[in-house]
Symmetry: C2
Subunit: 219 residues, 2 copies
């Protein structure tokens, strides 16, 4: 037993929830889950607590754990905060960027370009993650970097959805180029604004996506 069972359960549950295996508000029964995973209730409980801390699950005392998909509104709110945090990261990063740092970021951007040329959304997705995390780290504020990473992770499933939107990959890439350019020029305010908008636009795209779903349902 090299890995903690609780962590594995947590991971698997998270994937299941994100993958939409449960209905919103569905109760997660400790006994059923422990039977399903062939473990005792203990690691399941720990996993549920962890998921509760990260916001995927809500726990009511002596009532149990319930999956809580963020509402449409809440998702928009989260993108709004993410935009602010990324803007801050960009602002600080432009101010504090080192030579080796900018090289790494440029390399990540080239990875994005390669993925775009190959038409590989999955690869683009991964390279894009690297790009963003490098900028978080370059902010020089480890607490900010950590918080940004946490929220980034939480928004992952929604962001992933968006690469499917027509031309989004190309547009995203252009935004990356502008951001790198701004960082290179050391313009903190511009970098912050560009990073902010780069994320805010994702919230808007998400909005569009939902609207088109609603339309499709109604039509």
């Amino acid at each position: 037993m090299t890995e903690r069972t609780a962590d594995r359960i947590r991971e698997e549950l998270e994937q299941s929830i994100i993958g939409g295996a449960f209905a919103d508000g569905e109760r997660l029964d400790e006994v059923s889950l422990s039977e399903q995973f062939n473990v005792s209730r203990t690691p399941v409980r720990e996993a549920l607590h962890a998921l509760s801390a990260s916001g995927l699950v809500e726990q009511l005392p002596r009532r149990g754990a319930f999956v809580r998909y963020p509402s449409f509104r809440r998702t928009i709110e989260m993108f709004e905060v993410m935009a602010e945090l990324e803007g801050m990261c960009g602002r600080l990063a432009a101010r504090r960027m080192t030579d080796s740092g900018i090289v790494a970021i440029e390399k990540a951007m080239q990875g994005c370009e390669a993925a775009h040329l190959a038409g590989d959304t999955d690869q683009y997705y991964r390279e894009n993650e690297t790009f963003h995390h490098l900028i978080y780290a370059a902010s020089g504020n480890t607490f900010l970097s950590g918080e940004a990473s946490k929220l980034h992770r939480r928004l992952r499933p929604f962001r992933r959805l968006q690469l499917r939107v027509r031309n989004r990959m190309r547009q995203s890439l252009n935004e990356h180029r502008d951001i790198v350019e701004a960082i290179r020029s050391g313009d903190a305010d511009l970098t912050g604004r560009l990073m902010h908008d780069h994320v805010a636009i994702q919230g808007e795209k998400f909005n569009d996506l939902m609207a088109s779903y609603d339309e499709a349902r109604a039509g």
Copy 2:
């Protein structure tokens, strides 16, 4: 048993840690703690996990839990992020403020004034909390409001320290007046900037405070 034991333990441990009962890096032994609190290891473990999630302790797999006081640098970093979040709250609040909202905020400010006149730092502290939370809520972004509240809570012990600094209460009050004025005028950018600086100055004061401690130790 009307309350969860684990929650009580969590609360008590949190108070102890914040109160400085443990050295930085000290290991929190599950067995010792359970004996100390006269409970089993189970609720102690849950409490430690919760504290780990909120950042007060660090858990290393199969090694145990260790108290982690934020370093000086990290504290400054946290204030930096707090300033950004509060600035965002202020910006949105100014834009979205309702009539009843502004009345509540003005009332909280009057509470601060009363506390200042009475020279009651504890009361000022409480009224100040209300003031800030009202602005968080007025942002209309419940996710932002929640995150701001969490970080606010985490920085509480450091903020409390600062009211002892000479004239800080008066200065803080003046800043509150400016903020309320800006909100009333509906100037989002100004409100955001004022809120940001209102918090950033706390980080600076904290910096000063630490510097004077170091000086006192050296002298």
